[in-house]
Symmetry: C2
Subunit: 351 residues, 2 copies
């Protein structure tokens, strides 16, 4: 149907409907609650007695991703994962996604195939169904819009506003890695732009570059909490940085907080890269963002059930609002937590 | 909070979270099944025993809309309506939407306020809740992504694949107006570009320009069908043009069709503008698109219940697939229906 050349297949060779059929032909529907996927005016979902959660994200080339150092397959995977992360942060299970993609004429069908291969891998890995969306021309680079739908019983849902005084603040995994990975990718790309023969050696930074390019959503934590019978009092995923996202929990829950610098989990590779690039590792962890770890609070009585789980680190506790929102440094001094997280508009000004 | 100047308020004055709070502060949640709107990782919906439908659309500046002749308030309204139209085309009732917007630095907060005013008007008019989405910087003009969610019982849902031989093909309203309105707007804008003192007089074209800039979704038809106890055997909304969308019904249902040129409803203003611009009115109706009317099929026995409804026009009937998909012209000759509808990729090539 589509003509190929050495430079790839022009998207216009397919037409709108042919293209989306081509790109989505290997996507099975695996969830029984997905009654109708792509191919009608809308998808149909049967949630039975469950509640449905819905979240959406718009990713724009040059703002949210840079194709100079982001492989399209990784981009497709990540575009899905960041939305699933929001679903897990509700203590819900993701089941369906829709994906709309806009591409300018510099892209070829093969580029879209790579992108959709990443989307398919994410669907496979997390057991979600692609049920809608389309592809479209764009005058302005690549645009990706993902909506994720998930389900949970009313009792399971965890909001941002349920934290109470003395609740323990926990984070999963380690923080700051995705941000440091981004700094490494930017640095190597800059050198490459000046010297196209330059071959970046990223082996020293494998972990943090992976954190940036191929993040995972913490399904395992949601499953663990369920197994242990622990329901967090509040939860959010760390997309903007620990500071900013913790302030969201405090703001919505009407609490203050105290977290301890020494408790904030930072991987050795993150710390080494930060020091190499003259960035304070703690700043990367607090303000870097894009780690897609979970930040949640639990009642102190539940902490025993989560003890000796290396993937969960208590970093502090909630306080009355009037006590402020404080970081206790290694030297024991207290400093106010401020939101310096990643901001799509701030970034527009800075860069 | 935000500094204003004669040229408006810079978006960066708000920051990401402040801005979306500002823009969405006048959006009430009116549906009991909306359990949580904006402000958490995801919105929460309680569909009870209903099925949920979900549909999404990505609208890109320069491809799907041109701000040279599209007021932002109308654009916001239309971006919602085109998604609600898809929900109605499932015979479902829209209840929630999410809206993500990307804007480049040439836009000001006041521009976004206008856009969201249109979104709010559509939410008011159709009784839907804005439950999610965000605003973001863009390097590439304006990007709008809307996802609409609706509900229906399993018995109510109407798909594209249920049409049977002898079912009557009906269209609502009239066709081709939105396309002719677009041609008028383009023509006037071209003159304006050459002579900025030119004041376009659109009064002669009020109906068709309105069809282009401020379409409505046919909620009234869905309600009427329910009142009359008529369930269409198949349904689609006419977004790409009657030809293309009818071929979708035939393709999914495995039928052929015969429609009659003389039956295709075309408004007098549409016909006059088409003749003025040397476009065959029938072509505008068949291939113009963006009318957001409904195209549906009903069993012949149900046609009595819909008789003397001026907003519903029978245009033909379904046939066995082997009889082909045919348009019977005024002179009685038969011609094959081909899809020449609006195509975001075709357009990229043509213009």
């Amino acid at each position: 149907m589509a003509k190929s050349s050495g430079k790839g297949t022009e998207i216009s060779a397919y037409g709108e409907f042919g293209l989306i059929e081509h790109l989505t032909k290997d996507f099975p529907l695996r969830n029984r609650d997905t009654k109708k996927g792509i191919g009608d005016d809308a998808a149909v979902i049967s949630p039975r007695n469950k509640q449905m959660v819905v979240t959406t994200d718009l990713l724009l080339e040059g703002v949210h991703f840079d194709l100079a150092y982001t492989p399209l397959k990784h981009l497709g995977y990540k575009a899905v994962v960041v939305n699933l992360s929001d679903v897990y942060a509700m203590n819900a299970v993701p089941r369906q996604i829709t994906v709309s993609v806009g591409v300018s004429s510099r892209f070829r069908v093969e580029h879209l195939e790579e992108l959709y291969e990443g989307i398919r891998l994410a669907c496979d890995h997390y057991g979600v169904d692609l049920v809608g969306g389309d592809t479209s021309a764009s005058y302005s680079g690549m645009v990706i819009s993902v909506t994720a739908l998930g389900r949970a019983s009313r009792e399971e849902l965890v909001y941002r506003d349920g934290a109470r005084e003395n609740d323990v603040i926990c984070v999963t995994g380690d923080l700051g890695g995705a941000y440091m990975g981004l700094q490494v990718l930017k640095r190597e790309n800059k050198i490459f732009q000046q010297d196209p023969k330059f071959q970046p050696d990223l082996s020293k930074y494998e972990y943090i570059v992976g954190r940036q390019l191929k993040p995972e959503a913490r399904r395992d934590i949601i499953q663990l909490l369920k197994e242990k019978g622990v329901k967090p009092s509040s939860m959010i995923d760390i997309s903007d940085g620990l500071s900013s996202d913790l302030l969201h929990l405090c703001h919505r829950s009407g609490t203050g907080c105290r977290i301890y610098q020494d408790k904030v989990p930072i991987d050795a590779e993150t710390a080494a890269a930060a020091e190499e690039m003259k960035i304070e590792p703690l700043i990367a962890a607090l303000s870097g963002g894009e780690d897609y770890e979970l930040l949640f609070t639990v009642s102190p009585k539940d902490m025993d059930k989560l003890a000796s789980r290396p993937q969960i680190t208590p970093v502090g506790f909630m306080t009355p609002a009037e006590k402020g929102r404080l970081l206790v440094t290694s030297s024991g001094s207290e400093t106010e937590i401020t939101a310096q997280g990643w901001n799509a508009f701030g970034r527009m000004k800075d860069e």
